[in-house]
């Protein structure tokens, strides 16, 4: 699966990018990209720290990401050998239902995913050698609660425009291994 490393026939296929944060002199940020979606697929936040290749425009990219995670969750839950309850493949899953898929890794990057029962989905793309990021995602969810949800002037379901949240997020992401 190569969404960020590969390309369509128009651009020449580049060599896999070197893992950032370790070799390149990149301001210490160890994550590449963060997405936050709500339960309706609205992209509340898209933040990128290091993304050498963009193949789609932003709206398409976010739709693709949401669709990917939606299908992956459904697919991993239906394939669960330990679970007894299995609906048909087409039935949409509720957040928290079925086993929870939390990351996938390719040779160039690792994508970590967390979904809260209220439907907030956090997606963090980092370099491939990262360890388990579930704690990190939970911390970012807490940051979201503190700086976004508790802000009375924020309308739930709209893109996040909070400077405080962005600053704290950047600071935290610098500390990720």
């Amino acid at each position: 699966m190569q969404f960020f490393g590969g390309s369509t026939a128009v651009e020449a296929s580049p060599a896999p990018a070197a893992p950032p944060g370790t070799l390149t002199g990149l301001a210490g940020n160890n994550a590449n990209v963060l997405y936050i979606f709500n339960r309706n697929g609205v992209c509340l936040l898209y933040r990128e720290w290091h993304r050498p290749l963009r193949t789609l425009d932003a709206a398409q990219d976010q739709k693709l990401m949401f669709g990917l995670l939606f299908s992956l969750r459904s697919f991993t839950a239906k394939m669960d050998p330990t679970s007894s309850e299995k609906g048909n493949l087409g039935v949409p899953l509720l957040p928290g239902q079925g086993c929870s898929f939390h990351s996938f890794r390719t040779n160039t990057y690792k994508l970590s995913f967390m979904e809260s029962p209220s439907g907030i989905k956090l997606i963090l793309v980092t370099h491939a050698k990262t360890s388990d990021l579930r704690e990190a995602l939970r911390y970012i969810y807490n940051l979201y609660v503190e700086y976004v949800v508790k802000n009375p002037l924020y309308v739930p379901g709209t893109p996040i425009k909070s400077e405080l949240f962005n600053t704290n997020l950047d600071q935290y992401v610098k500390t990720l291994i």
Partner: protein, 151 residues
Amino acid sequence: MAPLPPRSGDAVFANIERVNAELFSLTYGAIVRQLLTDLEEVDEVNKQLDQMGYNIGVRLIDEFLAKSNVSRCADFKETADVIAKVGFKMFLGVTASVTNWDADGMSCSLILEDNPLVDFVELPDTCQGLYYCNILSGVIRGALEMLCTSY
């Protein structure tokens, strides 16, 4: 690393920031008083309190999920228990008891023994029919709607 187990209401309540109970009760009383003055109709005040609670609930659910780590409840009985034991404890500092289940398991009552909202409050005869704590029903409605079981 395995996911964290859900924290009990007491554990969360011990770590969370708290506010003076009297300030809380008096502020809520001032809100209700002002609504009664502005709207004059007891039914209107009930509706407004419910709406305010709803707006609180849609935000509160994320804080609740982030701090308490509970996973999706299997059925309504479990939901009622989690609200009573973890939710109320975390935000109001008191637990509720769940009683009065009907035959289908579709409705129940949450009883608050000592409700911090009603400290110092005595309703006069002019306010018959006022649901003083209606904000709580709004909060529960808003929070559960964000977890709603149908797309």
